[in-house]
């Protein structure tokens, strides 16, 4: 045994957590670096792709990569504490050893978005995968390849807003970039908008002209955002979302992330609404 000398996609690359950022009471961002600098160099993810994070002895989970590929030398994952692996990850700090394999899945089709305006609609931790594309679009020379950027983001409360430094500080500073933030319930400490994301979207009423809308959030939010976008005149091909399914292998073998004949790990996680409407309504 152990005599096989082939490439083994199940083997994670050892990595170390460099920094942990507390986003909310149950969301942390983990900045990781591969122990082997050559792996760090050759790991080329695209915005919207995912990776498998290992905590050896606990297991593995599929997490979207929230950092843009334009940010070199580091991978960032924003993780909500919901299950065993994510709870164990939340217990780790700088210096902790983990494993990462990937990148997996398709990516946001930024190639076809060039020259267009972009509308991002996110809820809660759903901003994490969108952020890889937002930062990609805003980064350096890339910015002038895209038109106006609008970001509508909401969470249950002020305390549940992720990436406050980006939504309140960094992103609004970019040219031709508008950020709209809302929380579900009124709060003494909040001067901004109060209301659910889908209704705020209808209030802001971005024009569908020459624009792609990219959305991610809790399933119920996505459902109403898609309806609202359609109502506002966005065509199905202009609407892009990224799906979550339970995954184990990440490479189309273990069989659990299928929606109809598609595996979300290989054929997704990014789908246009027209592609989704071709699939069985099972997500």
């Amino acid at each position: 045994m152990g005599n096989c000398k082939c490439d083994n996609p199940y083997l994670p690359y050892p990595a170390t957590i460099k920094e942990v950022i507390d986003e909310t009471v149950d969301v942390k961002s983990f900045q990781m670096v591969f122990d082997d600098p050559e792996v760090m160099e050759s790991f080329k993810q695209q915005p919207g792709q995912v990776a498998q994070i290992s905590i050896f002895g606990v297991g593995e989970a599929t997490i979207s990569i929230t950092s843009s590929p334009t940010r070199k030398g580091i991978l960032e994952f924003s993780v909500k504490k919901v299950g065993q692996l994510t709870a164990a990850l939340h217990d780790l700090g700088p210096g902790s050893r983990v494993g990462v394999r990937g990148p997996y899945g398709n990516h946001f089709p930024y190639e076809i978005m060039k020259g267009r305006d972009l509308l991002f609609v996110g809820g809660g931790i759903g901003l994490a995968p969108l952020r890889s594309l937002i930062d990609f679009v805003l980064a350096g020379e890339n910015r002038k390849e895209f038109g106006k950027v609008e970001i509508i983001y909401g969470a249950r409360s002020v305390d549940d807003l992720c990436f406050k430094y980006d939504i309140l500080d960094n992103w609004p500073k970019y040219d031709n970039t508008d950020v709209y933030v809302t929380i579900d319930r009124a709060d003494m400490a909040w001067q901004g908008h109060v209301g659910f994301v889908p209704s705020y979207l209808e209030e802001v009423k971005p024009s569908p002209l020459n624009k792609y809308a990219i959305t991610c959030g809790p399933p119920i939010m996505i459902k109403f955002v898609l309806q609202a976008l359609n109502k506002m005149g966005f065509q199905d091909g202009q609407i892009i979302t990224t799906l979550e399914m339970k995954m184990k292998c990440g490479i189309g073998k273990c069989g659990r992330c299928n929606i109809g004949s598609k595996f979300v790990c290989l054929d997704g996680p990014v789908f246009t609404l027209s592609q989704l409407k071709e699939l069985p309504p099972e997500f």
Partner: protein
């Protein structure tokens, strides 16, 4: 393709020598009377005529539980030891349905990401097929366009003929075996092949219109009639030669050292698709039962161009509440013709 013949006596010698020189895996009867594929030391144990084994030989390529790698923290940091690899092996006596099932699994484990554990075992194994001379009443392989004497997927295919077996040598691997044991093979005679007749006894169901029906109808009233009696025990997936779903998990006695494994899993279990946050896209037996049959009759075909069922009849025999894929096929045919049952 070379057509040879091997007498019963010579076949016994061949099995003896294969058992001695390589790892021989063949159908044997355990003390409880259960027929299983297992390692064989004595050729006398090998069954030359049997009805399908309780479990398919799939586990010799895709074991029920398989260690993927070991991990340990050392001074150099994290160290992983890859456990991928296998010894040379001859799988003897594989029936045509099980041969076909392996061909159905191959593209799952190939593709953009090659599964080295499966592929390594496939490459290191030779398969000697055996025509099925006594299909069981639950068998319906003919439905999927082949019969009990179809050798596709084997390296050498044996079919009872006269006082022995015709041996069709189908691949280079088969040729290698024949070359190593030349003295045991002779030129094929003209005795008729016995399995030619058994072909006629195997049930052939009509698949006309079923794929088209499922392509166009995710929601079918019919599923409501099927799922309710399902107990969700998962035995259908456990005995199925084409099911490939697995779980991945770690085993560690605390500290820094441990191992990562994979084990067969089942789409019939609630937790199979349950996400950590609590959302489950297939929350009830209805969605899970539908997914299993859609996988066998549509999804696998869409994805790989191959049927996801080979008509081996194992799930039919094992299901404690008689959910019968043959019945489902004929019912779906009826629905596609008449719009209802």
């Amino acid at each position: 393709m070379e057509k040879l013949f091997i007498s019963r006596d010579s076949l016994k010698k061949l099995l003896d020598r294969l058992a001695r020189n390589l790892n021989l895996v063949a159908p044997v009867k355990d003390p409880e009377g259960i027929i299983m594929f297992g390692p064989v030391a004595d050729a006398g144990q090998v069954l030359l005529e049997y009805q399908n084994s309780t479990l398919p030989p799939k586990s010799f390529f895709f074991p029920q539980t398989e260690r993927l790698f070991k991990f340990s923290y050392g001074q150099e940091g994290m160290a992983l030891e890859d456990m991928c690899g296998s010894d040379k092996r001859v799988l003897f006596g594989v029936h045509p349905c099980d041969l076909k099932s392996i061909l159905s699994l191959d593209p799952v484990f190939a593709g953009a990401y090659k599964d080295p554990y499966y592929i390594n075992k496939r490459e290191n194994s030779a398969i000697i097929g055996l025509a099925c001379s006594n299909p069981s009443p639950g068998c319906f392989c003919a439905t999927f366009g082949f019969g009990p004497d179809d050798g596709e997927g084997s390296d050498i295919m044996l079919t009872p003929s006269g006082k022995g077996f015709d041996a069709d040598v189908l691949t280079d691997k088969g040729q290698e075996i024949v070359a190593s044991y030349k003295d045991l093979f002779e030129k094929a005679g003209d005795s008729p092949r016995i399995a030619g007749e058994t072909r006629l006894t195997v049930k052939k169901l009509d698949l006309t219109g079923i794929k088209e029906l499922l392509d166009g109808n995710f929601e079918l009233e019919y599923w409501n009639q099927v799922f309710e009696k399902c107990l969700g025990c998962g035995i259908c997936t456990y005995v199925c030669p084409t099911c490939h779903c697995f779980d991945i998990y770690d085993s560690s006695k605390g500290g820094c050292d441990g191992e990562r494994y994979r084990s067969w899993d089942s789409c019939m279990f609630t937790h199979f698709t349950m996400m950590a946050g609590g959302h489950n896209p297939r929350p009830s037996k209805k969605e899970r039962v539908r997914n299993r049959f859609m996988h066998k009759l549509k999804y696998h075909i869409d994805r790989y161009g191959l049927a996801g069922c080979v008509g081996c009849g194992r799930c039919v025999k094992s299901c404690p509440v008689n959910i019968d894929i043959r019945r489902i096929i004929s019912d779906l045919g009826e629905v596609s013709r008449n719009g209802q049952l």
